[in-house]
């Protein structure tokens, strides 16, 4: 099989003649290339030949046929060197002189960044709001929406409130209980809507399962999960005979933030 490194540009007739010449020498006829084609031939030549044969001048009659002109040895060597230099990539790695004489100049100075001390790298990062919504963490599945399941929570809450108010005796002062309740958590309390600007909310009773910034989610005895907005409603919470009324419009904070909030004293509140 004849190997070709470059697609022949030359004359087909020439090639045919070359083939007729019977030589197994294969060379590419580059437009700018001169007669000394021995390098390519070297790479591509499949024929086995001596080096001497390569360096000889092309015979006169072959010159006429090929239409090329042989050059002197010196010129050919120079050309070859130049051609090689142009075509072969200079690998700087081999430029040892340059490397030894190379002087590095520091233009700027910066300390390499230390890796931040990972505080609590073992702590769970937590989810942001989008992830929470996607994972539906705060949604209660329908099979869990049963009133009986939340009654133990209510008992727990009652105990918590009684402990918080140092035992809810009939003699405790309402102000003290009020102060404590303002900062208390109401999850698990049984709340009733006593007054509301919207009449259909009035009378709904249930255990508070989730408290958000603007709504209460309660579960009623009929196992219905109701969402009641806090605004414009008054809720009643009863513990051991102490009935407190919560004015929802003033209660619109997250349960966690409410413990830090100071409430102003107001005379009367109108819905």
């Amino acid at each position: 099989m004849r190997h070709r490194c470059v697609k022949p540009v030359g004359n087909r007739e020439r090639r045919r003649r070359r083939q007729e010449a019977g030589s197994e020498l294969e060379f590419k006829t580059h437009v700018c290339c001169c007669v000394s084609v021995f390098c390519c031939c070297r790479r591509v030549c499949s024929a086995k030949m001596d080096e001497a044969l390569v360096r000889t001048r092309i015979p006169q009659d072959l010159e006429k046929v090929l239409g090329v002109e042989s050059q002197t040895n010196a010129k050919a060597a120079a050309f070859t060197k130049a051609f090689l230099k142009k075509s072969i990539q200079q690998n700087s790695r081999h430029d040892l002189d340059g490397m030894l004489s190379h002087k590095a100049v520091i233009l700027g100075y910066s300390r390499p960044k230390k890796d931040k001390v990972k505080r609590n790298s073992k702590r769970a990062k937590g989810l942001n709001a989008r992830q929470k919504r996607a994972m539906k963490v705060f949604q209660i599945k329908p099979e869990h929406q049963r009133y009986e399941l939340f009654l133990p929570l209510h008992e727990l809450w009652k105990q918590y409130i009684i402990d918080l108010c140092n035992g809810l005796k009939p003699t405790s002062s309402p102000q003290f209980v009020q102060q404590k309740l303002l900062k208390a958590d109401f999850h698990g309390a049984i709340i009733t809507v006593v007054r509301s600007k919207c009449p259909s909310y009035v009378g709904t009773t249930g255990i508070l399962v989730q408290e958000f910034k603007h709504v209460f989610k309660i579960i009623t005895k009929e196992d219905k999960l109701k969402v009641i907005p806090k605004r414009n409603s008054v809720f009643a919470v009863e513990v051991n005979g102490f009935v407190s009324h919560i004015y929802g419009s003033r209660f619109e904070q997250r349960a966690s933030e409410r413990s830090a909030k100071k409430f102003k004293v107001r005379g009367t509140i109108d819905l």
Binding site: V194, R195, K197, P199, V202, G203
Partner: protein
């Protein structure tokens, strides 16, 4: 000056004047009379009479009696037995007594089975039944009206609407008022089960008659409505119309041209009066006018309740300066009549 323009303004009042004849098919007197459910006072002016004619007297005396229940809890009006015996058969007229429409909660039970509650804001927010803000409230809604049709399917005993209202009235808002009650045609018998449970008393409408002499009277056919009503009011209130123009105290005079009546009889009857009785009275008066007599006219004035939540046909009624809703029927011997219907500021146009 701008200030004087504002000082000139008075609350709106409406006067509707109908001139027609009883013989005209399109006359609407009977419907206009029927639609004013709660009548307080009927006063009749009989010219050239010293004593009431027998027929009129008998009709006046046969006005239905009414009942006053003290401290009736309003949820009793939703009692199943009461609904079946009284509300569904015949017509019940009920109105809360001594409740002011601009201050307290008022209740009215109309003959077509509609219960109308006019509540202030706190009571409405406590009760929890859907209602509408009053048409006559200013920017801040301080009055709410709940109107319920007791004959509707959802309000049948056991229905959802019925239970909601019942629990509201029993547990959330304990609405208790004195209540005036009357029933047509059954009278006290159909109301007995309800009455027996509470402190009740029966009352007959009060009848007063007064004879006046030498009264100047305007020319009725051509008199303009306001002057006529003023003259009629003066007669009703015993105000003298004989004032000389230089009098210091009063310059009220009878509208010109005028005649003099030697005697006039004024009869009035007060209480919770039924429109059916008023209708009967009008028919009786028409018969009386057909007889030939000296004077050929007769005037009848019917006043509605000032504190009733409803006026003609269930329309909302309120009190701004005075809650007048009355009508005056001036009847002539040739079956023509002049009907004047008057309302105050917090009222819609009479029918």
């Amino acid at each position: 000056m701008n200030m004087s323009v504002d000082l000139d303004q008075t609350p709106r009042s409406l006067l509707v004047c109908d001139w027609s004849s009883f013989l005209d098919d399109k006359n609407r007197v009977s419907s206009q009379v029927e639609q004013l459910h709660f009548n307080y006072k009927v006063s009749v002016l009989l010219p050239e009479c010293s004593s009431a004619p027998a027929h009129l007297d008998s009709v006046l005396n046969s006005f239905s009696s009414f009942y006053l229940i003290r401290n009736l809890p309003i949820h009793e009006l939703l009692d199943k037995q009461f609904l079946e015996t009284a509300v569904y058969q015949g017509s019940v007229y009920g109105l809360s007594y001594r409740t002011r429409i601009d201050e307290d909660n008022c209740v009215a039970l109309m003959p077509n089975g509609r219960l109308s509650l006019s509540l202030d804001k706190d009571s409405y927010q406590l009760l929890g039944v859907e209602g509408k803000p009053s048409r006559f409230s200013n920017r801040t809604n301080s009055r709410y009206v709940i109107s319920i049709d007791l004959t509707d399917n959802s309000m049948a005993p056991g229905g959802r609407g019925y239970l909601r209202l019942l629990t509201g009235l029993m547990s959330r808002l304990h609405l208790t008022t004195d209540f005036l009650l009357s029933h047509h045609p059954g009278g006290g018998a159909s109301l007995q089960p309800l009455l027996s449970r509470y402190d009740w008393s029966e009352h007959r409408p009060e009848l007063h008659s007064h004879a006046l002499t030498h009264l100047s009277c305007p020319e009725l056919q051509s008199c303009d409505p306001h002057s006529f009503l003023e003259w009629l009011g003066a007669v009703d209130a015993d105000i003298s119309c004989e004032n000389s123009s230089i009098s210091f105290l009063s310059s009220l005079v009878c509208p010109e041209p005028k005649t003099t009546l030697s005697r006039v009889l004024r009869v009035s009857i007060c209480g919770l009066l039924l429109p059916q009785d008023v209708h009967r009275l009008i028919q009786e008066i028409r018969c009386y006018l057909e007889q030939p007599q000296l004077e050929s006219w007769l005037s009848l004035t019917v006043h509605g309740f000032v504190d009733s939540p409803v006026s003609w046909g269930g329309r909302e009624h309120g009190v701004l300066r005075g809650g007048e809703n009355f009508y005056t029927l001036l009847m002539f011997h040739d079956h023509t009549y002049h009907l004047h219907l008057a309302t105050g500021a917090h009222d819609t146009c009479p029918p």
